[in-house]
Symmetry: C2
Subunit: 284 residues, 2 copies
């Protein structure tokens, strides 16, 4: 690959650039964004070779363009790229939701390019920004691609190879299925962690409560330190699947509450045993 | 201390014994329990000096007796100790709930000994049993004692010193307050983790769902691998506080769901920002 353009050089985009540079996968990495100071840091850190504040200049002539901005600004970013993105340039993204990104790209560009391959690396951390970027972030992690039925097959293959060069394992699934699975495995847990911390912070004894929180609590709420803007965008852009999962969960929470209120020890034991077995089996 | 008796030599009781032996805090540790094979392992591991299957023989002549069984059997264990527990023997426990333990001790012994000091080490791990015991488990961890108003002050001091010798920081609080604080910081998170895993395991795509679960999910659900019997007992013995916390949490979950369904981005952002600030401030 000659030239890679990364729009939004934060943790995710920056780590991809570092990994691909280390692998010798591309000759030039151009960063684009609105925050000059942050792009300058990326340049100083050796994440990118140069940067442009004008997204149009950044994507012109790029072999691959990676959209790594918050999902909420993808439509406007794509609007700025109209007329500059080459017909054979491969376009991909890293958004945590896929149906909304496909819509945003189509709305922004006025068409859905055949060389557009939606993607989602299942990796991240609580710290955000290019300062947190590292070449190893994707090592052994999964990346889900959701190639569109009408999309170009070679473009999908190129994006797959790119992520593999960054150390990831790549798998494909349909857009709608991705959003459903992620609502369960990622979006719901994040929302529970945010709600738990917020719920406890409203209690009178909050200072004390957090003082007595042990290791389990720290692990449990780690994801509540994630980027609020990113999670607002995810909620707004995967609404139906998330609301469905919240309701599914709440039904189970109601059952649990009834079992506790009714002192139904057998039911509680069965429930906890099944959960422990499942967790040990899949994550043990 | 001459002789320490530990009733229930599992992770918690076994780790306390190891820590106190290493500190040279007591001359003899007697283990008691119902499972000969497990007590034999404790002996082989050097956790205890000898064991008794009869709890009465184990506690006779002990300076300190630590109840480290599941909370659900404390009443029957105490019944077996009637007439054997010396008047000056200090009795303490390690249960995750305190009001129910006080009740169980009183019901079992037929009276509340003045030398009884309820306690709760805020430490643990997913693996249970004496095999998981280690001398460092309490190093730097908090232990909450809930001395009773009518209790002996020197007994409370002795239990405090014992935990400090095991490396812990000891703090006192009233019984009812302990149960309320722990319902928030420990019981609620465990129940959410159990319910999440159980909820996801009922979905059609469960194999796939757990396959795409990333690091955040593993952290979040780690506590769902905890001991089901222990957690059933906690639920049954801290019912009112837990049900109150579940309702408090569910109210907040309802607000979140409405904000998502209504695409209220500002409200979502505020909620996530507040949670992140709180979490970073207390656990950062």
């Amino acid at each position: 690959m000659e030239r890679l353009a990364i729009v939004g050089v934060g943790l995710i985009g920056g780590s991809l650039a570092l990994a691909l540079r280390r692998a010798g996968y591309c000759h030039e990495v151009v960063g684009a964004g609105r925050d000059r100071a942050s792009l300058q840091r990326a340049l100083d850190m050796g994440v990118i070779d140069r940067f442009e504040l004008d997204v149009c200049s950044a994507v012109r002539g790029a072999d691959v363009v990676v959209l790594a901005t918050p999902v909420g600004v993808i439509e406007s970013v794509c609007r700025s790229m109209r007329g500059c993105l080459g017909d054979t340039s491969i376009l991909t993204d890293v958004g945590s939701v896929k149906a909304a990104v496909v819509q945003a790209v189509e709305a922004g560009l006025g068409r859905l390019p055949t060389h557009f391959v939606p993607g989602h690396p299942i990796a991240g951390r609580e710290r955000a920004g290019v300062e947190a970027a590292e070449a190893d972030l994707y090592q052994g992690r999964r990346v889900i691609l959701t190639p569109l039925p009408e999309g170009d097959v070679t473009a999908a293959l190129a994006v797959k190879r790119m992520w593999e060069a960054a150390g990831a394992q790549v798998e494909n699934m349909p857009v709608a299925h991705h959003d459903e699975v992620l609502a369960a495995t990622s979006h719901l847990p994040h929302l529970l962690a945010y709600t738990l911390v917020s719920s406890l912070s409203r209690l009178d004894e909050q200072e004390e409560i957090f003082r007595y929180a042990a290791g389990g609590f720290r692990d449990f709420t780690r994801i509540a330190s994630s980027d609020p803007v990113m999670w607002r965008d995810i909620c707004l852009h995967n609404r139906d699947d998330i609301v469905a999962m919240l309701r599914h969960f709440r039904g189970d929470l109601d059952i649990l509450e009834k079992a506790i209120a009714g002192a139904d020890g057998d039911r509680l034991l069965t429930l906890f045993q099944r959960a422990k077995q499942t967790r040990d089996r899949f994550c043990g």
